[in-house]
């Protein structure tokens, strides 16, 4: 299968870049021919990914200059905001189109006039989702956004949480070099990771730090993330710095800017804090949990869902509440330990393996044009954070899966199933046409071999495809029937054994 992934850019460090790289690996392992199309040159990506990445213009895409794109069977359009390549979604006249919605910050939360128009366009542009057969988004919050704002059918939206590299984000000791560089020896560290945009509400973190410091003086706030690439960030950072100076805590707020490697920074933290008012997913929350850092976050966006009961939530916009929750975590070691343990269990729901398994299911259903069943979401209801449950219970709910029916003879079943599936596909090269009608079988075989492609493609191939689809469905039903049959035989054997045991018991009692 030819797969095209389309996005504005490909930056290895950002969440969407990571997501695209994961997808390239996923499709490659499946044996698919995958290619990435971006508007801007890729940044910091591995060579093997760069090889399959093309920097293109909209014109090149729509005029069919990219053969792989023109002939793809599956198109995945990533939507970080409106970009020129998105417009090509209107003209896709073959294959299946998936819209990967990463959410857009609402302009009213942006906190600056610079770039607000672009956000308005991004919001408007999300209506392009209507051109897709299916939408994937990382959280139920985003799903609701699409349903409420655009009226997109909920059963066409699959929630697929982003994958986090859990092998990189692990608990560990503080890096002495970083401790020395930022003078963190003997300090409690509150960490925030993210770009310094208005919706992140850095100002609230600074206000909260001042309140925390009044109780625990040796506390610092570490702000890790881009604070200068976008002109809109500058006034926000300047205001925050001014406020910190006003509160007399300027030396306790550390701005690192963008960093190359995040895990050591997470390991510096005692608490991960965020006052963000809008998050479509909140990847740093998962990374913090994976590094064994308890999280305090605002009850906004997708964050309550991402955290489940593995973190504390505070009122959005309230520095007092945030500070209070941070103090609770810093002082109550039992709670802190509970949150860490729950976090470590929770992040298993965001593993790459789980992501790939769910993506495989969605892709399979999308290309066979059936509505996918929404993959299991790691759901823990929002609002449960206030009543901290015993650590042992956390995550169990998400892990619980209905026990599969185990047939008595799995080997026989799997051989039988494979055989049925193989026979169902009449489009396969080795298929032999069988018919009771004289000469019909050989005639069909002859037609298939000899009909010219301009006649075969429009007339014969669709018939064969339909027949294959029907056969596959039949094969699936037969598989299910076999599974039921073997399970019932097993059950019968169990019941017979039970009856025998009971009879023996009755006999023993009667004697």
């Amino acid at each position: 299968m030819k797969v095209s992934l389309i996005n504005l850019n490909l930056v290895a460090e950002d969440a969407i870049g990571t997501c695209i790289i994961n997808q390239v690996h996923f499709f490659r392992r499946r044996g698919d021919d995958v290619h990435v199309y971006v508007l801007h040159p890729p940044h910091n990506v591995p060579t093997d990914i760069e090889e399959v990445t093309s920097v293109v213009t909209l014109r090149e895409l729509i005029e069919g200059q990219e053969e792989h794109f023109r002939l793809s069977d599956l198109y995945i359009y990533h939507y970080p905001g409106r970009h020129a390549l998105m417009e090509s979604i209107r003209g896709i006249d073959r294959g299946t189109v998936i819209f990967y919605y990463h959410n857009v910050t609402p302009p009213e939360l942006w906190g600056s006039d610079i770039g607000r128009d672009a956000l308005m366009r991004d919001i408007e542009g999300s209506a392009l989702v209507h051109y897709a057969d299916l939408c994937i988004t990382p959280s139920p919050f985003n799903k609701q956004d699409l349903v409420d704002r655009l009226g997109y059918a909920p059963d066409r939206i699959c929630v697929l949480p982003l994958a986090v590299a859990l092998e990189q984000f692990t608990p560990g000791d503080r890096d002495p070099k970083l401790v020395q560089r930022y003078e963190l020896e003997g300090q409690q560290v509150l960490l925030f990771v993210g770009r310094m945009a208005g919706n992140k509400r850095i100002d609230i973190l600074i206000e909260a730090l001042a309140r925390v410091k009044s109780q625990i003086p040796n506390t610092k706030l570490l702000l890790v993330g881009d604070d200068r690439s976008n002109p809109a960030f500058r006034p926000i950072v300047a205001d925050a710095r001014a406020r910190a100076a006003e509160l007399g805590i300027a030396r306790d707020v550390i701005w690192t800017g963008r960093v190359d490697e995040l895990p050591p920074y997470f390991r510096l933290a005692d608490v991960y804090v965020t006052a963000s008012l809008h998050e479509g997913f909140g990847q740093p929350l998962v990374e913090a949990m994976a590094c064994g850092v308890p999280v305090v976050a605002a009850r906004a966006g997708a964050m309550p869902w991402v955290l489940g009961d593995a973190g504390l939530l505070c009122e959005p916009g309230s520095a007092d509440d945030l500070a209070e929750k941070v103090l609770t975590v810093l002082r109550d070691t039992g709670l802190r330990q509970t949150l860490i343990e729950r976090g470590l269990e929770r992040v298993q729901a965001f593993s790459l393996e789980r992501y790939e398994a769910n993506l495989a299911e969605i892709v399979e259903k999308a290309v066979t044009h059936t509505l996918p069943e929404i993959p299991p979401e790691p759901v823990v209801e929002a609002g449960r954070e206030a009543e901290i449950q015993p650590a042992a219970e956390a995550g169990e709910e998400a892990q619980t899966q209905p026990a599969p029916v185990i047939p008595r003879d799995e080997l026989v079943l799997s051989i039988l199933s494979d055989e049925i599936m193989a026979q169902s596909d009449i489009a396969l090269r080795g298929y032999v046409v069988r018919s009771r009608v004289p000469l019909l079988g050989p005639f069909i075989a002859w037609v298939r071999r000899n009909l010219t492609s301009h006649l075969r493609e429009p007339y014969l191939d669709p018939m064969i495809e339909r027949q294959v689809a029907l056969n596959r469905r039949m094969a699936e039903w037969m598989q299910r029937a076999i599974a039921l049959w073997t399970a019932s035989i097993q059950r019968q054997a169990e019941l017979e054994a039970r009856v025998e045991a009971l009879e023996a018991q009755i006999e023993a009692l009667s004697h």
Partner: protein, 428 residues
Amino acid sequence: MRVLHVTHQYPPAIGGSEKYIADLSEELVARGHQVDVFTSRSLDYHTWKDELGPRERVNGVNVYRFRSMRRTEFVWRVLHWSLGKYWQTRSRWYEPFILFGGGPLCPGMFAAMLARLPQYDLVHLNCLVYGHVAYGYLAARWRQVPVVVTPHTHAGQEVTYGIGYELDVLRGSDHVIAVTEGERNFLLGLGLDPWRVTTAGNGLRPEAYPMRDITACRQRLGLPEDAFVTLFLGRQVEYKGLGTALEAFIALRRSHPHLIFLVVGPETDYSRRLFARHDGLPGVVNLGAVSDDVRLDALNACDCLVLPSRGEAFGIVFLEAWIVGKPVIGPRTAAVSTVIRDGQDGWLVPLDDPGAIGEALKRWISSPALARQMGESGRRRVLSRYTCSRIADVVEGIYFRTLRACRRGGRAKKPSTSSRGYGSIRSR
């Protein structure tokens, strides 16, 4: 893309589904598509009388009108007889008679479709209840052109929407467009594949509803400046809930003498009888049928809209109230419940429950800020979701998805490069 819209009537004929297809056609033309419309020459679906010319071009849309058989008294009787027999026996023998009685029967349209359909990438059939959908569908299938249908079904009226050939069209079409989520659920209940049913909604043009000064509007309508004005907007018929709204007003007026009940919409025998019973009731202002300008004044002059209707397939009047920032009270029916968000941009009330309407009104009377807030929320919702442009986004998307699906199944040709929708990129 070259699209053929087939509809029973087209403006200047009046009606919700007529407006829907006209707005959609014009919006798609503005996006660079070629849209032709095949319709009848009629202005009145009661008679299907030929009143309009054979061809015109309206805002870039080519409208072709065909002669149709008149619906005489005899034809009506055939319709009633066959419908009765059909529901008694469920025999498909009666379906041709229903088709004959329903109309519009335009042999010219059928012939033209057979002859010209290969020119089009897709056919969009509008309004399932009329016969043009049946033979339009047949022609499209014969010529192997993908078919999209907007049925405008009412979930509560299976008698009209459950005829065998109508279900065949719904099940056989490549895509079905529902107007509300409630209608989509109804269609899925008929066994349609969820993959092929999409809710597109209904929309209006915000520029046609400018916000006006409330004081000036009230002066023009002769309403007191400090009154709390409740608007009823629609045909003054029983099923729209006029009686229930009036009852709620009478009960509330006793404790709130500054309340005004403003009624706008064509009068009927029912409304004349109703108001005759309450002759001389203070606070009731009935304007009857009015011009668009006065209608807009009424929308701007009111504090809220009340329409506890039993038979709204969508309720575009709610959008009209919201777009000028007024909150609404609507019925808790399947269709309207998916349009009004209870407590956010209006209140949903049980059917025939004046008490609930009174309670809802009291909350706004005691807290005008709440009313303003809910109206504003409704306005935002219309602008983000229920404009003609938004609906065209959805429908245009459906067209492309349908073409892709048909091509996968080998049932559609490849759209020509010039008509693949990129025109709209340049036009924006």
